[in-house]
């Protein structure tokens, strides 16, 4: 287990090099000079030269790459636009994204796993049809459309909730009111796929012999479903949820855009539009590493759920 973890973590190094090289290449292909974007069209040649010197934009490309990597590791990489440390800028935006993501994930898990279990146990019942149709609907509706509809209903018509923006930490009333709609919208898509996967993997498990044995032994139905059924169906469900978490940080871009939520996804998108090379570089690398580490944690968690799974 330990050696497996170390091996996976060591694999991060080539991955890191690959991603950073790719992103750097794409950034260098992008037309336009960041110095001019930063200073505006009317800047004097002197000022432009000075900025180029400051951000090492006039050096040959391999040197620029080396410098950027070095600065990232020493924690000195500064955003061209914000003139602040990249890690600090990303960290500041990470909190709203985490609030949004965790509350959406919580909603999705609390609603969709029980819904999936009930649909699987009571197959072909009215509840099953209803929840499966709802899941199909949730998979097919664009996030931004749900967002716009909710805004129209609750903000424009009923005037109950604010239409957009971030109201502060989630434990304050204002923050909570701002959080409800984006979290709901983001959780819809997660709910859809989690319900479907829970149902299908529960259906597979319920057919197994050990479920029949447990029932024959006289274990109560609830225990059979939860302890014997769900526990064994948990691996695909965890894979799905892990994927959702890993994708959350960047995948919430659309939700964040609709609700003007100051999250990491929007920060990265704006940085690309602003030609803020250093921030894009830092953002993408940080997000990719989070993705890889979350996936690793999910893989390790399999062994907890199912002790049969071992990593050599």
């Amino acid at each position: 287990m330990l050696s497996y973890t170390i091996r996976r973590l060591l694999l991060l190094i080539p991955l890191f090099l690959f991603i950073s090289g790719l992103i750097f290449g794409i950034l260098k292909l992008t037309p336009g000079d960041p110095a001019i974007v930063l200073l505006g069209d009317r800047a004097t040649q002197e000022a432009i030269d000075l900025t180029r010197e400051k951000f090492a934009l006039n050096k040959p490309i391999p040197v620029q790459y080396y410098k950027m990597m070095k600065h990232l590791f020493t924690g000195e990489l500064k955003s061209i636009y914000y003139r602040e440390n990249v890690i600090k800028v990303v960290g500041k935006r990470m909190i709203p994204t985490l609030e949004l993501g965790i509350s959406a994930l919580f909603l999705a898990i609390v609603i969709s796993i029980p819904a999936g279990i009930i649909s699987a146990v009571k197959r072909n019942s009215l509840f099953d049809y209803a929840s499966m149709s709802a899941a199909l609907f949730g998979m097919s509706i664009p996030v931004f459309f749900t967002g716009i509809l909710l805004i129209y209903l609750f903000a424009v018509n009923l005037r109950l909730l604010p239409a957009s923006g971030y109201g502060g930490p989630f434990y304050t009333i204002e923050g909570m009111r701002h959080l409800i709609m984006p979290a709901l919208v983001l959780s819809f898509t997660m709910m859809a796929s989690t319900t479907r996967i829970t149902r299908s993997s529960m259906l597979d498990v319920i057919r197994e012999d050990y479920i029949r044995t447990a029932r024959a032994k006289g274990v109560s139905e609830g225990m059979v479903i939860i302890a014997h059924g769900l526990r064994n169906a948990l691996v695909p469900i965890t894979t799905n949820i892990g994927n959702q978490i890993a994708r959350l940080f960047a995948g919430a871009v659309l939700t964040e855009t609709v609700f003007a939520w100051p999250g990491v996804g929007r920060l990265a998108v704006n940085a690309i539009f602003r030609r803020d090379e250093t921030l894009v570089f830092g953002c993408v690398l940080i997000l990719s590493i989070i993705y890889v580490i979350v996936n690793l944690m999910v893989d390790l968690f399999y062994a907890v759920i199912n002790p049969q799974i071992r990593y050599e």
Partner: protein, 337 residues
């Protein structure tokens, strides 16, 4: 029963073809595509009705699949909606009552009226016409992106699965690395670097999903590779290229089909999302995503501006998903999902 249906279909499509022909000068290509699609559907339905009548023969795989798909009501519903949407998309220049780009300055941001069936947007453009052209763009780009995606993903999966060992390792590790970069950011960065355009959009979107394809095709290639007929073919001395073409691909065709039909809906959602962010299809060309993002700004004035394109996207993706689920059940591919 089948013959009768085919007969009516033939009559109706013939009337449609003749009826629309006088307008064909307006958009000859659209008319040609329409004629080809109609002829193709007719031939297909005749072939199917023949196959349905031949009860004596041993059922081929395709006709078995068709029978199962035919029984699945929701999948058939999805398919019919899709065919109607395809016709609407192809015939958009004939159907749309107004020019999708022309502004009617006398009717800005209006509701439903006789002149503008679904109202007008903030620039006085007819929403119904724009929507029709939006369907056209969404379907066209979505289907071509999935097609390209299938080609690339299948190719990589075949290579990785068939040659194994080092090739497998290199391809799969590279794909994992590619997959770990958040797709939307990557797409935006590439679009910023290369500039926007329909072909670039298709290429970028098609690269988003290759991981899923390659992984599943690799899995089924690994299964097929173990079978006796492959070793037999190898022993006879058939070159690898021919083994892959004649024996491996035909045996992997069902997961490829299922994956392609399942990923259509998702791809269209991704394209709409990119257009919503202002990176996909560029204005003034009508696109459903951009119409929605425009509609959000005028939410107080005209809800139709966001409801119409939103419902259209929902309808397209929903019918693709229904159809994809049906194909998966019909092919009984337990490998996926």
């Amino acid at each position: 029963m089948w013959r009768l249906k085919t007969f009516y279909l033939f009559i109706i499509s013939f009337i449609l073809l003749v009826w629309i022909f006088p307008w064909a000068k307006k958009d000859l290509i659209a008319y040609a595509v329409f004629a080809c699609l109609t002829a193709g559907l007719l031939v297909l339905s005749i072939v199917i009705s023949r196959a349905a009548n031949d009860t004596d023969q041993i059922k081929s795989n395709a006709s078995m699949m068709w029978k199962r798909l035919n029984k699945n009501k929701s999948a058939m519903g999805g398919m019919i909606v899709l065919i109607v949407l395809c016709y609407l998309a192809i015939l958009a220049p004939f159907i749309s009552p107004h020019d999708s780009l022309a502004s009617d300055w006398g009717a800005l941001s209006q509701g439903i009226s006789r002149a503008h069936w679904l109202g007008t947007d903030d620039m006085g453009r007819d929403i119904f016409s724009r929507n029709l052209f939006g369907i056209r763009v969404a379907l066209g780009i979505g289907i071509s992106a999935v097609f390209l995606n299938t080609l690339i993903g299948t190719f990589l999966g075949l290579l990785a699965g068939y040659y194994g060992k080092k090739t497998d390792n290199i391809i799969m590790r590279l794909l994992e690395a590619w997959n770990s970069i958040p797709f939307i950011l990557l797409a935006i960065a590439i679009m910023a670097a290369l500039g926007t355009g329909i072909w670039k959009l298709i290429l970028i979107v098609s690269l988003s999903n290759i991981m899923a394809f390659a992984r599943i095709i690799r899995g089924s290639v690994l299964l097929v590779k173990e079978s006796d007929f492959i070793s037999a073919a190898k022993v006879i001395g058939i070159p690898d290229r021919l083994i892959i073409l004649r024996h491996v691909i035909p045996n992997c065709i069902s997961p490829i089909l299922v994956l392609a039909s399942l990923s259509l809906g998702e791809t269209i959602l991704v394209i709409a999302g990119l257009s919503f962010l202002g990176l996909g299809i560029q204005p003034p060309m009508p696109s459903l995503g951009a119409m929605l993002s425009n509609g959000q700004q005028y939410l107080h004035e005209n809800i139709l501006m966001s409801v119409v394109p939103g419902v259209t996207i929902l309808l397209i993706v929903l019918s693709f998903n229904l159809f994809g689920d049906g194909v998966r059940d019909a092919l009984d591919s337990r490998l996926i999902d």
